[in-house]
Symmetry: C7
Amino acid sequence: MNKLLNFNIFLNDHGDLNVLGKLAKIVLILVSIWFITNVVDKIIDKAISNKKLTKLYTNDKRINTVAGILKKTVKIILYFIGSMIILEMFNINTTSILATAGIGGLAVGFGAQSLVKDLITGFFILSEDQYAIGDYVKIGDYEGIVEELGLRVTKLRDFTGDLHIIPNSSIQIVSNRTRGSMRAMVKVSVSYDENIDRVVKILEDVCLDIKKNNTLIVEGPTILGVTDLGEYKVDITIIAKSQPMEQWAVEREIRKKVKEAFDKENIEIPYPKGIIYGGSEK
Amino acid sequence: MNKLLNFNIFLNDHGDLNVLGKLAKIVLILVSIWFITNVVDKIIDKAISNKKLTKLYTNDKRINTVAGILKKTVKIILYFIGSMIILEMFNINTTSILATAGIGGLAVGFGAQSLVKDLITGFFILSEDQYAIGDYVKIGDYEGIVEELGLRVTKLRDFTGDLHIIPNSSIQIVSNRTRGSMRAMVKVSVSYDENIDRVVKILEDVCLDIKKNNTLIVEGPTILGVTDLGEYKVDITIIAKSQPMEQWAVEREIRKKVKEAFDKENIEIPYPKGIIYGGSEK
Amino acid sequence: MNKLLNFNIFLNDHGDLNVLGKLAKIVLILVSIWFITNVVDKIIDKAISNKKLTKLYTNDKRINTVAGILKKTVKIILYFIGSMIILEMFNINTTSILATAGIGGLAVGFGAQSLVKDLITGFFILSEDQYAIGDYVKIGDYEGIVEELGLRVTKLRDFTGDLHIIPNSSIQIVSNRTRGSMRAMVKVSVSYDENIDRVVKILEDVCLDIKKNNTLIVEGPTILGVTDLGEYKVDITIIAKSQPMEQWAVEREIRKKVKEAFDKENIEIPYPKGIIYGGSEK
Amino acid sequence: MNKLLNFNIFLNDHGDLNVLGKLAKIVLILVSIWFITNVVDKIIDKAISNKKLTKLYTNDKRINTVAGILKKTVKIILYFIGSMIILEMFNINTTSILATAGIGGLAVGFGAQSLVKDLITGFFILSEDQYAIGDYVKIGDYEGIVEELGLRVTKLRDFTGDLHIIPNSSIQIVSNRTRGSMRAMVKVSVSYDENIDRVVKILEDVCLDIKKNNTLIVEGPTILGVTDLGEYKVDITIIAKSQPMEQWAVEREIRKKVKEAFDKENIEIPYPKGIIYGGSEK
Amino acid sequence: MNKLLNFNIFLNDHGDLNVLGKLAKIVLILVSIWFITNVVDKIIDKAISNKKLTKLYTNDKRINTVAGILKKTVKIILYFIGSMIILEMFNINTTSILATAGIGGLAVGFGAQSLVKDLITGFFILSEDQYAIGDYVKIGDYEGIVEELGLRVTKLRDFTGDLHIIPNSSIQIVSNRTRGSMRAMVKVSVSYDENIDRVVKILEDVCLDIKKNNTLIVEGPTILGVTDLGEYKVDITIIAKSQPMEQWAVEREIRKKVKEAFDKENIEIPYPKGIIYGGSEK
Amino acid sequence: MNKLLNFNIFLNDHGDLNVLGKLAKIVLILVSIWFITNVVDKIIDKAISNKKLTKLYTNDKRINTVAGILKKTVKIILYFIGSMIILEMFNINTTSILATAGIGGLAVGFGAQSLVKDLITGFFILSEDQYAIGDYVKIGDYEGIVEELGLRVTKLRDFTGDLHIIPNSSIQIVSNRTRGSMRAMVKVSVSYDENIDRVVKILEDVCLDIKKNNTLIVEGPTILGVTDLGEYKVDITIIAKSQPMEQWAVEREIRKKVKEAFDKENIEIPYPKGIIYGGSEK
Amino acid sequence: MNKLLNFNIFLNDHGDLNVLGKLAKIVLILVSIWFITNVVDKIIDKAISNKKLTKLYTNDKRINTVAGILKKTVKIILYFIGSMIILEMFNINTTSILATAGIGGLAVGFGAQSLVKDLITGFFILSEDQYAIGDYVKIGDYEGIVEELGLRVTKLRDFTGDLHIIPNSSIQIVSNRTRGSMRAMVKVSVSYDENIDRVVKILEDVCLDIKKNNTLIVEGPTILGVTDLGEYKVDITIIAKSQPMEQWAVEREIRKKVKEAFDKENIEIPYPKGIIYGGSEK
């Protein structure tokens, strides 16, 4: 019975597999590969029809292409492994085949590094909710409204109309400009001849007026004070907090109101000034 | 029969292959290599005549050269693997040969890294349809109309006439300027002495006039408001959305119309202004 | 008894495991994997409910997602190792499987490098207390108040309202602006025609006045002296030390006071000066 | 006979090779090395006399030196491998020798990486016909006419007379300026006081005149329109398409003709303008 | 007795360890691990209480945390090694476990690279005494007084009050400004109309005066000579050597003294000069 | 006799080497090492006295030092390999020694990478004759006359007198300025009020005059035409081709001759021009 | 006797070492380690007291610390190797220990890479005599007089007094400014109204005068000619060759002499010139 348990009909006198045993083993390996490829195909198909992913990739055709390539790659790798095991069984040294495939695999692996980095960074952007579709963000030197947010690329629509397509691996630091209220800042310049207190008084009236009528403003506008003593002008800065994406509209309104108030109150416009001595002897 | 199943005529007394067996094995290996190279050649030939690829590479001669090199490389690698297996069979230690080939292979692999990256990036640009032939795109510091879009390189025709040949591995962030309507933006400067409301009124008439007659415009033109209080001028910005590649024509038209309207309405041109005090004592 | 100790019922005549022995071993391996996954799950669950971590990540849902992925990854790796051991037991050469998995693992490992660096840098920032929530810091080109401080990312709220999301691996040199008192510095320019001693006297009065009334100031303000002999002006610098984040308010106050004192004392404003010779012969 | 087939006179009692067998094997190895080096030498010699290569490297002496070094390197590597196999035969452990040689080989391999990259990039430039001898190209910050185009370096002759020697591995993006017609662009500035329509009329006459007489022009010249409203001038842009390398001559002709037309028609030259208020009280 | 020496009671008939022997070996391994962890813990504890280190890290709590982590890491590694040895003993193939751990270890190792570099650079800064606490140094773009100098980070206190926290691996070139006397340099500009010899005479008097009264000066001040013939001024440079960190005070004193001497001696201030031809025909 | 051929007196009963055999083998190894070191020393000595190399390195002492170090390194490596083989012979596992040496070797190898790159680049510069001693070249940001050209470094003598020592691995793109004739280019500016045809006539006379008398000129000088319509001047460009290193002298001569011709012909010097409106109401 | 030669008292029946044999082997290993550490210590001690090294590192204490660390490192490595060999002897699988140590070693090795590069670069700087103590050199953006020149760092004393500490691995291109005579260059500007020949005559007199009296000058001063035709001035350049570090003194002297000669000869100072048209209608 002990012999039976060891399937002796598959063994030759040296305790190794005989031809029958080898054939049985080959069949077993092929069946296993067929089984695993089927399971992997099922997993990929299920992942595609997954809710979250479909939210990201609305394009049906593109995802099917990717899935097809993925399935083929898995199949090729599995059959390669299977044939290696079978060759070993017939005492054929596969070291040189594995070494060749390994060097090729390393070259592909290094080349595909940034693809892996794309996916990892993409996963973190999504899971940490760094930005969502519709947010206005700045990534490196590029900014715009997020139009598509995938595992591999992020697409930004710039105000200029450009569509920036950014692989996620190129994304390092993200500046999200839609999380919380934004600052509007206007620098107002007046001549050195003006009285600062009087100017501040006029600006305060402007600020009060804007605060009342503008519903986009969250906080302020406030007058910070004298922010620079320039060559021929004194800078006074006004800041306010507005709803996101509305800071520029608020700044434009403040500028117009200040210009009109200064016109009315006769505040001198600080044109560049200079003193010229006439040298008569030339 | 058990003995027959183990092909004993190919074995010597120690259970190893005898000369006959070895010869049989060598023949088997050579036949396998011949068979695999034929299959690979067929696959390459089929891939070349594939529709999609021919769309990309219209140049027949170039693709045949590449295919020829590919086939030769595969043949050399297979015969190298075959001779390694045969040498092992005769108990010749191939470690040193494999090590030498491995180091050479690694050096080539590292050098070829960017080639692999070319192909991977190229594949994603194509499958994600990041840009198509005829699109106006900006890649890094280079911009132009896409003239050729291959797996290894992208060719851009600049407005200057330059043909930029960009290996796909050098492509990181792509700004596509033909996906959606583009923004035309004109900054108009007026003197501090002008009344802002009157200027805006004149500009609105200009905008209305353009909107009626220009079919390239998708949206606008709109007056944003006071975008800067400069040293001796006030900036007012006009924006519009046009069909792609037409934004510059729209900007030129707005500029011309604004200039003519200002001439007619006697709006002061904001030449640089300054105040000079004469120092008499020098 | 010696035989019993060696569990001979599991061995065949060659001293190897028989079918019974192999089955026993497989069961043992599966039980071990089940046991280790359970232990790892417990450790992860305990780490999540740990006080320190919850202080950092207030978002419950996000941490559960991460924990789920971690548990699944550990399970997959353990079952992979288990099946490798079982395959070896049946004399199936796993070299090719391990090599394939190894190259895949290396690719993922390289891609995940920056994730590891994120965590290591994050750990040191936390344990060395480089900055805390609420601090005003500058990291590279980005600055703002620390709003969130995690193992993987740091979030800064800029004065402009932007939320900068910085992966910790991008953090090299940190400039913390809330550790210790900050310097306020105002450069005052006067004409060459003024007497330096008289100007310094006036500025000293201003400084004394500010020192008395401003509670935000820690030290100074002090007059450094003549810091530049410019083209048409002499620069005198005033510095003070204030409580963190109040340096700008202190600077604004000094500027306003100096402007008013100079107005009162009739100190000449150093407008640009020049000498022009009139060339009559053109 | 079975014994004969196994060459028993070369074996000792343990089935291993005896001294005679070893000697035979050594002779066999040396003969193989001698044969392979001869074959490699033939291949190198044939490659050198190959037509395509001689077209590239006209310098006979240089290619012979390179071929000599290549042959020597192959010979050294083959004899190294041969001696390793012989040492193994005498049971001398070569691990330490191989490890030493391997580290040395890796160091050389890393150093030679850019050489491999030179050749691969060079091959693609040639096979994709990115540029040919005589083309005017821009590579990075360097531009000039291609004077030599080899597998390892590209030589550009700058207009300044400099000969830029560029290793192909330093070549990323190539801008070829001889493929297709080039753009000539002249920006013409006029005073705000001029009537735009009148100016455009004069420029159109100039363009017509040039179009008739200049055979270097492929398309245009055309007047684009008002491309900038500057501080004290209005910019109008003229573009044309010329034969490659002739765009600068076309631009110079347009400039001269425009200057002469403006002189004739009394169009005001837009010298910088400014408004100065005299401050009397200083 | 020979048998006794070979502990035959632990061996089975095949000369391998029996169950008893294996149990004994397991106990031995566990005892060794327990012993080594204890020794390592002692070494860490001793290192912490070492004088030199305590001088660097005054913060007791922080060092205890680090020590705790170090001890835990060592313990986990040792138990991992122990279990690997035990698994091997029962003929369980650990290749796949080691490969998995190895790839994980490599990923961590690459990520931790900069940590190792931190420590090595830190060690050299300390042992070569490149700078000490209190020195004023410049590292890359950051400068300040060294406030803390550890094995991993260096902390600089900038004059602005910022605390720069610099990981030692980011430190390349250090410019120490407290080793030796520093140079004070003042550039004095005079009109072309002045006689150089007379100006130099006046400056020499100023220098002599300063040399007598200022104890911060180590050498000089000396007049270098005419260092530039500018557009409308001649530059004369004065240099001095002062005690470290006092160079700015010395410069300020020289500037003030020069200004006063020039006022007294009626040396012309070199305001920008120009010649204007009036074009009457416009 | 078969036994004799197998040197049985050196073998024990198990067919392994006995003590006598081992001793013989050790002696053989040591003799081989002594022989190889001698051969390597001879090769190094011969290479040093080689003609080509001595042409490069005229400094005898320096090359002897390098040769000495090389010989010592080879000796140490050979003795290390020898002792490893001997240790293996006595069944001492050398894996740990080799691993330690391997890691050390890798660290040194990585560090020495740029040394290997120095030599490879140096070899190509020499064999491709990219530049020779006495050539005036530009390498990156450095330029000068090549003073020494070795396998590891290139030394350039700048016009400023600086001696730039450049390791060959830092050399990427070389601009050789002594291969072929160089371009001299002078930009001549005239007022808008001048007649272009008249100016060109005068310049042509100047060019003819220079062409006759200057033997350094290879081609030209030629008048290109109107190369810019500036704010208040028209630019006309003259180019010539001169012998290498003489382009600056040619440019200086053209400039002087043009200045004198313009003085004689009363061509207006294009001083900056402007139009000033006086604002009376301030 | 054959048995005696094989030391059979140390072997058991299977031909392996018995307990006695193992003990003997352990003793042998420990003695070898003790011996090698002693030899290494001697070599280190001898190297320290070596003449050349002491010339570089004058600081005795620092070198002793380094030597101590080196000795300890060697000792730890040797005992690690020893214990590995002993563990193997008792059939304990050391793969996992070696793998762990290997990964740790690799991490340290990568971190220590720049240390190795420091030493290799340092060695070449010394052996090639790129610069010596007292030379004035420029390395990257840093320049100064070499104050210390070691195997790991180079210390430069800047003219500002800063001590730049530069690790040798950061040294790429060295510009030595003390090898050969240096160039002094003064650019002299004159008005367009001056006669060039007369100006050159005056400058030649100045040059002759300086040549006679200044012993620091090696060659010249010479007048190059008209080096620029500027907007309102003509540039003439004078160059001279001086002893190293004296070029600035020579330049200052030339400048002073030229200024005085121009004053005497009434050469016009080329103040900026311009033509202003008065626009009356504003």
